[in-house]
């Protein structure tokens, strides 16, 4: 229990990590930690350093400063490799092996029973194509095969680099279902992604990298609160009352009958009271909280004032 007291129950602990590539620092002083069963999204624009960070955690590339511990092991150690699984950004398998053969090879390398392979392929929806060569797979099918190898042997830490690129909406949904199952079984999951909307309900915390620096890391609610982005209120006036509503509330009159307002979270109730006070002059009200896109733009574009 001493280990827990020191915070070593973290599956992944990244401390002040630095990576230099050529003259540039591509990852700057990044610290983050993941607990068992936690799902974290890693966001950032192209070239922000997401892949580089993941590769350092895997021990594929050297760390130039700071330290990384994978459940107490150095990245790339035998022990660390046994409990970690990885889905690369672009999945590349040998095109003349069948999906099943490729998965069997990974199972043997991982020291896992080979008869677990077919059920895994079924789980990712590749049962039909299991005996076809990977060369004949579509991009989404290769991505699914990549996901199947992630599930081999119930990893304790899963690092997924843009796992949903190339997947159709239904597949994306299935994919996040699988991520939820993994997390429910205690796997810590780090997902890098550009597909913001799909992450909203699917992650416990969100980390945002900007040119190698971690600019935010928190739950979605906390990020929202801290950013203090305005809530948009769309008011639809009843026939012939548009001018009256716009006059009473201020805000922009959008077209014949719509008025758009914005306010901060703590003024929301006051604004709503003012709207309901107008009685029948208001036909409808929509509240639009700041989306992940807005938040991302706020933190990643440097509006956070750092």
């Amino acid at each position: 229990m001493a280990a827990a007291a020191e915070g070593r129950d973290d599956m992944l602990d990244v401390r002040n990590v630095v990576k230099r590539q050529g003259p540039r620092e591509t990852v700057k002083d990044v610290s983050l930690s993941l607990r068992a069963g936690e799902r974290m999204a890693l966001l950032g624009h192209n070239g922000a350093g997401k892949t580089t960070l993941i590769r350092m955690i895997l021990g594929l590339t050297r760390i130039d400063g700071g330290s990384i511990s994978v459940f107490g092991n150095r990245p790339g150690d035998g022990k660390a490799r046994r409990i970690t699984s990885y889905l690369p950004e672009s999945v590349v398998f040998h095109k003349s092996l069948s999906g099943r053969e490729q998965l069997v090879l990974f199972a043997r390398l991982a020291g896992q029973p080979v008869d677990g392979c077919m059920p895994l392929l079924e789980r990712v929806g590749l049962a039909e194509a299991a005996h076809r060569r990977v060369g004949t797979y579509s991009k989404g099918m290769r991505q699914r095969l990549g996901l199947a190898q992630v599930l081999l042997g119930r990893p304790r830490l899963a690092l997924l680099d843009e796992p949903t690129s190339g997947l159709d909406p239904i597949s994306r949904h299935d994919f996040y279902g699988i991520v939820d199952d993994m997390a429910a079984q205690g796997t810590a999951v780090l997902v890098s992604s550009h597909a913001l909307t799909e992450l909203e309900a699917r992650t416990d915390r969100i980390a945002i990298l900007r040119t190698g620096r971690l600019v935010a890391m928190d739950s979605l609610e906390n990020l929202r609160r801290r950013a203090g982005l305005p809530i948009r209120i769309r008011v639809k006036a009843a026939e012939g009352h548009a001018a009256e509503v716009a006059g009473a509330l201020g805000g922009n009159r959008m077209n014949g009958c719509r008025v758009e307002l914005s306010c901060l979270a703590d003024q929301k109730m006051a604004r709503l009271k003012a709207i309901t006070a107008l009685g029948d002059a208001v036909a409808d009200v929509d509240l639009v909280p700041p989306s992940l896109e807005d938040l991302y733009r706020y933190y990643a574009a440097g509006e956070a004032g750092s």
């Binding site: 590769r55 895997l58 594929l60 590339t61 050297r62 035998g78 490799r81 046994r82 970690t84 699984s85 990885y86 690369p88 672009s90 999945v91 590349v92 398998f93 040998h94 003349s96 092996l97 053969e101 490729q102 090879l105 990974f106 043997r108 390398l109 991982a110 020291g111 060569r133 190898q149």
Partner: protein, 274 residues
């Protein structure tokens, strides 16, 4: 450890089978060996040796060129190609060491090479036997040719892996492999020959030349099969060219190259960032 090596070797063999490498290498060897065996049918009477003896001599000369070429073609892409495809990065996140990966590939490539060599030369032997030109001594020479060709292949497989781990890209590795092939089987001998002519029978010719010749694995293979007391030496005309060469030098070169270069390849692989 063995499990992982064999897992990799098994997958690599499947790939070699599917992309026709086994077929190409084997039919190449069969074709050339058969051609040489029947082309050799003419001079047998004159030398007083059987058909297989002559054919072993010509197949040795063929192997000096063909076996290193096949080995380099199989191995040059082994690491650089995987790095380029990004496959190495994924494999190395599994609990498999880089050494195991290298050995797995070596095992599968050796199997392919052995298949090509034993089938190719075996069929040539069979043809000679059908033609009635096989004796005990020539059969022993054939066997010796077969396994020493595989050892020769191992040297060049290892060289190929070392190049592949050093090169920045797959195409650069291909270029290096061709360069190495030309250097070892063509330029090296030409250079030595030039030095011989220049030296005109001095210290170099008597002491250094035989050792330098044996130092090249391809030449060591040639000496091992063509010189010595046997009738093959008579058929090849190489007898006497390597007088003054201690027997251990040839064996050391043949068996020393594969592990030494493999160790180098392992070192180079250690520095590869996938």
């Amino acid at each position: 450890m063995m499990r992982r090596i064999f897992a990799i070797a098994g997958a690599e063999l499947r790939i070699a089978l599917r992309n026709r490498w086994i077929l190409i290498a084997t039919s190449l060897m069969v074709l050339f060996s058969l051609a040489l065996t029947f082309a050799g049918a003419a001079p047998t009477g004159a030398l007083g040796v059987d058909l297989l003896t002559v054919s072993v001599a010509s197949m040795t000369t063929l192997s000096v060129y063909l076996v290193p070429l096949l080995a380099l073609l199989m191995s040059f892409d082994a690491i650089a190609g995987e790095v380029e495809r990004g496959a190495l990065a994924l494999v190395l996140t599994y609990p498999v060491s880089r050494g195991e990966l290298l050995l797995g590939k070596l095992v599968s490539h050796l199997v392919v090479l052995s298949l090509a060599v034993f089938l190719g030369f075996g069929i040539a032997g069979l043809a000679a036997w059908l033609a009635g030109g096989v004796g005990g001594e020539s059969l022993a020479a054939l066997l010796r040719l077969c396994w020493s060709a595989v050892v020769l292949g191992a040297s060049f497989l290892a060289i190929g892996y070392a190049l592949s781990a050093t090169a920045r890209s797959s195409s650069a590795a291909a270029g290096l492999a061709i360069g190495v092939w030309i250097l070892f089987v063509v330029l090296y001998d030409l250079g030595l020959l030039g030095a011989l002519v220049y030296d005109g029978g001095g210290f170099f010719t008597r002491k250094l030349f035989p050792l330098l010749l044996a130092a090249n694995p391809a030449d060591a293979f040639r000496i091992f099969n063509l010189s010595g007391a046997g009738k093959v030496a008579l058929a090849s005309g190489l007898a006497g060219a390597t007088n003054g060469l201690p027997g251990w030098a040839v064996l050391l070169s043949m068996f020393g190259w594969p592990p030494a270069v493999l160790a180098l390849a392992r070192l180079a692989l250690k520095r590869v960032e996938p």
